[in-house]
Symmetry: C2
Subunit: 411 residues, 2 copies
C-alpha cells in the first residue's frame, strides 16, 4: 500500500472548521451600484440622506387642510375650492389654506399649508368647486420625510449579496458606487494520466476531462472567478509546477489524485511546498478529499470522480469561496422538505450525500426518490437528480416515508 | 377624470394567459458547453456515444475471474498470482485467466478475461502471491459500457437551465458545443418628469431614478440582456420616440406612466403604433400595470413605484422572459413553507403580494412576519423582506399561525 494510506478520517464539520480557521478574506473593490448584482457587501452601508427628502402625496387626489373635511359625509360633503395643481416633479406654486385644495398626484410634493391628501375617488369636482365625501385625518395619505429610509440608517448589512431591491434602495439614497468583496480567483486543475480533452477520438482506457469545466462553472456559481489550468499528468514534477502556477490565484482546486492508489502523489506535492491540514473525510462520496495551505492559500484536493468532486465542491469549496468574500450565508442552495420515497441505508460514522429526484405526489406532497446508482463514477446520477439529502453521521439510514430536507442543486 | 380610467381589472392568471398566448420564442445560438452555465436548452440533447466507452474497474484492487474466488473465506483465502498491473489511462498489457490477477485502480480498463474486481482491502499480497478473503460475483465492482449514459439517451431535456453537472455529462459524452436559447434583449425605460439620475443634488419634488438599474438587474437575473434607455419625460412625443427605440430589442419594459393621473399617456402612445391588450390587474401592488404589443413585441407598462414595479417584474415580466427562451420552469424563485407571525388582511377579488421577513423560531419553525409598510413607495420594505406571500383572490386574509408559502426573492 501507498505511504499515503488514509488513516483517520475527520468529520465534515471538523473539515469546515479547519478550513475556515485558516483562510483569509479577499480584498474589496469599488463598483457601480448598477453593476453590483449578486456581489457580497463586506461592510454595512448607511444612507446619508432621508428618503423621501420632501413630504409627498401618497395618492392621486387633493392636498387639503384635514380639519376642513372633519365630519363630512356622502350626504353632507365638505365644499372646497381648487387653487391649481402641483404635478409630480414640480415645485408647488400655491399654498393651501382652510377652504382651499390643490390637485396632486402620487409622488407630488405636498404644498405648504396642507396636512393631508383626499383620494380622488372620494371627491367630485365641478370647475374649481370640489366636494369631499370622506374625512381625512392629519397626515393621512402623506409620505413623510425619511419614511422610507432615515439619514444614518443601515440600508445593506455586511455579508449580504446585492439583490435588485438593494440596488433600488442604494440609488434612492443617492449612493452610486459601493465597495464589494473581490471575486476570489480559483485555479482549477484536473489531474490524471487517463484524462484527454473532450471532443477528441475515444481511446480505450482514456476518459474525457469533465472536471475542469464543471468545477469552473461551480466556482462562478459561488461567486468566484475560475481560471482553467487544464490537465496535468500524474508526475511529481508536473503536479508541482501546476501547483506553483496556481499560486497566482486566491485558491487552488485540484481534482484527481487523492485516493490511496500508488499514483496519487498530490498530497506529497502539496507537502513539499506547503502543508496538508487533513486528508480523508468521513463522507460519501468524497471521502478521499484533502486540504492544504501553500503560501497561505487554500488548496483543495478533490477526488477525480465527477460526482464526488461536485458533492465536495458544494460541501466545502463553495462555502469557502463565500467565506473568503465575507458572505453571511455560506450555503446559497435552496432547500425543500420532502417525504422519502424509498428507504436509504447508510453507515454510522459517515455522512452520506444521496442524490434524489423530486416528484409531486397526487396529494400535493413533494416526494424524494434516491437516484439509483452504482457509484460516484455515474455522472448522470447528478443530472437526473434535483438535489442531495444528507444522512448524518449518527444515522444508519432513513426509512421510506421519513421527512427529509433536500438541498437543491444550485442553478 | 382621465380618458384612461381603468374600468375592468383582469386577474393575474388571465394576464399571464394573454401574454403567453401572444409572445414568440427567441432564436437559438451555439455556445461552448463550458460557457453554457445557466443557459436554457431549447431541444433535447442526446448522446452519440456510450459512457463509459470501455469496461472499467469501479475499485482499487485486482481484476480476476470471479469463479476463482467462489467459496473463499478469511480462513481459507483463494490464492492467485499477480501478473502485472493495468494503470488508469493505460491499455491492458496482460489478459486474466483462471488463477491469475492483474492489479487495477478505480477507472482502469478491465483486462480481457477478467469478469470482476476484488477490492484491495479484501486481499493480502506477498510479492506476486495474492490472497483473496471475500468472494466476488461476476461483474462485481465493474463499470459496464454505457452504464452512465447509453448511446442515443437524452442527457439534457428541452427547457432546462444548464447546471454544472449538465456540463459534466455533456463533456463526458464528447459534446463540446450546444444550442441554447438566445438571451432576450429588453429595453428598460423609466418615465416621469419627477425623475433625475441618482447621485446628483436633491431637488424638492424630484426623486432619483431607481427603476432603470433595478429593472435591468431583474432582466439579467431572469436570463435576459438589459439595455438601459434612460429617463424619458412625460410627453407623447418623447415617449413615442422611446418606444420606437425600444423596437430594436425583444421586449420593452417601461416604468411609470400607467396610473389614472392626467399625465399618464403611455397607453395612448402604445396604442398609436401597436395595441394595448390589457390595462389594470387585480393585484396589489402593481394594479395599474398594462401590457401591449408593438410590431409583435411585448411591451410592459409597469407602475413607477419601485416596489410595485419589482413585484410585477417577478410576477409577469420575468416569467415572460423565461417563456421566450422556452424554459420549463418559468418562475425560478425558491419557496419555503412558513408559519404566519401576524394576521394579514386582504380584499376579495384581488391578489395581494405581501412582503415578509423570515425568522427562525426557538422550536425550529420558520416564521414569516409581514414587513410593516405604508405603501408601494417604501423601497426599504423590499430590502427588509426575504420574499413575498401571495394572498389569493378568494381570500379575505390570513390568520396568524396559518401555514403559508413564501416565494423567496431571487439572488
Amino acid at each position: 500500500m501507498s505511504f499515503h494510506e488514509i488513516k483517520e478520517r475527520i468529520s465534515v464539520e471538523t473539515a469546515l472548521r479547519i478550513i475556515y480557521s485558516r483562510i483569509a478574506k479577499v480584498g474589496v473593490e469599488e463598483v457601480s451600484v448598477g453593476d453590483s448584482l449578486g456581489r457580497i457587501v463586506p461592510c454595512d452601508i448607511t444612507s446619508n440622506i432621508d428618503v423621501p427628502h420632501f413630504v409627498r402625496s401618497a395618492m392621486d387626489g387633493y392636498a387639503v387642510v384635514a380639519k376642513d373635511t372633519f365630519g363630512c359625509t356622502q350626504q353632507k360633503p365638505a365644499k372646497l375650492e381648487v387653487y391649481g395643481e402641483c404635478r409630480v416633479g414640480e415645485m408647488p406654486k400655491t399654498r393651501v389654506s382652510s377652504g382651499r385644495a390643490v390637485e396632486v398626484a402620487t409622488g407630488s410634493q405636498l404644498p405648504g399649508g396642507a396636512d393631508a391628501v383626499v383620494k380622488v375617488e372620494n371627491t367630485r369636482r365641478n370647475g374649481n368647486a370640489l366636494m369631499v365625501f370622506f374625512p381625512v385625518t392629519p397626515r393621512e395619505n402623506v409620505s413623510e420625510i425619511g419614511e422610507d429610509v432615515k439619514k444614518g440608517e443601515v440600508v445593506i448589512k455586511s455579508g449580504q449579496a446585492v439583490r435588485p431591491q438593494d440596488i433600488s434602495v442604494l440609488l434612492a439614497c443617492g449612493i452610486m458606487k459601493i465597495n464589494v468583496a473581490k471575486r476570489p480567483t480559483a485555479a482549477v486543475i484536473a489531474t490524471g494520466n487517463e484524462l484527454v480533452e473532450p471532443g477528441g477520438k475515444l481511446i480505450p482506457g482514456k476518459v474525457f476531462n469533465v472536471n475542469s469545466n464543471t468545477l469552473s462553472a461551480y466556482v462562478s456559481l459561488y461567486g468566484g472567478e475560475p481560471a482553467d489550468l487544464g490537465i496535468v499528468g500524474d508526475s511529481f514534477k508536473e503536479l508541482r509546477s501546476a501547483l506553483e502556477s496556481g499560486m497566482k490565484y486566491d485558491l487552488v482546486v485540484f481534482s484527481g489524485g487523492t485516493s490511496v492508489g500508488k499514483m496519487d502523489m498530490l498530497p506529497d506535492v502539496v507537502s513539499s511546498i506547503g502543508e496538508i491540514l487533513f486528508r480523508g473525510i468521513s463522507m460519501r462520496p468524497g471521502g478521499p478529499t484533502a486540504f492544504g495551505l501553500v503560501q497561505g492559500k487554500p488548496v483543495f484536493l478533490l477526488p477525480g470522480f465527477p460526482v464526488a468532486s461536485m458533492v465536495v465542491f458544494e460541501t466545502l469549496v463553495g462555502p469557502t469561496i463565500r467565506k473568503m468574500m465575507g458572505a453571511r450565508h455560506l450555503d446559497p442552495r435552496g432547500e425543500v422538505i420532502a417525504i422519502l420515497g424509498n428507504r436509504i441505508a447508510s453507515t454510522i460514522g459517515r455522512r452520506d450525500y444521496v442524490r434524489v429526484r423530486l416528484e409531486q405526489a397526487a396529494d400535493g406532497a413533494t416526494v424524494a426518490y434516491p437516484v439509483r446508482t452504482s457509484g460516484s463514477g455515474i455522472i448522470s446520477s447528478m443530472t437526473k437528480a434535483d438535489g442531495l439529502i444528507e444522512i448524518p453521521e449518527d444515522s444508519e439510514g432513513m426509512e421510506k416515508g421519513s421527512k427529509v430536507t433536500v438541498k437543491l442543486f444550485p442553478e
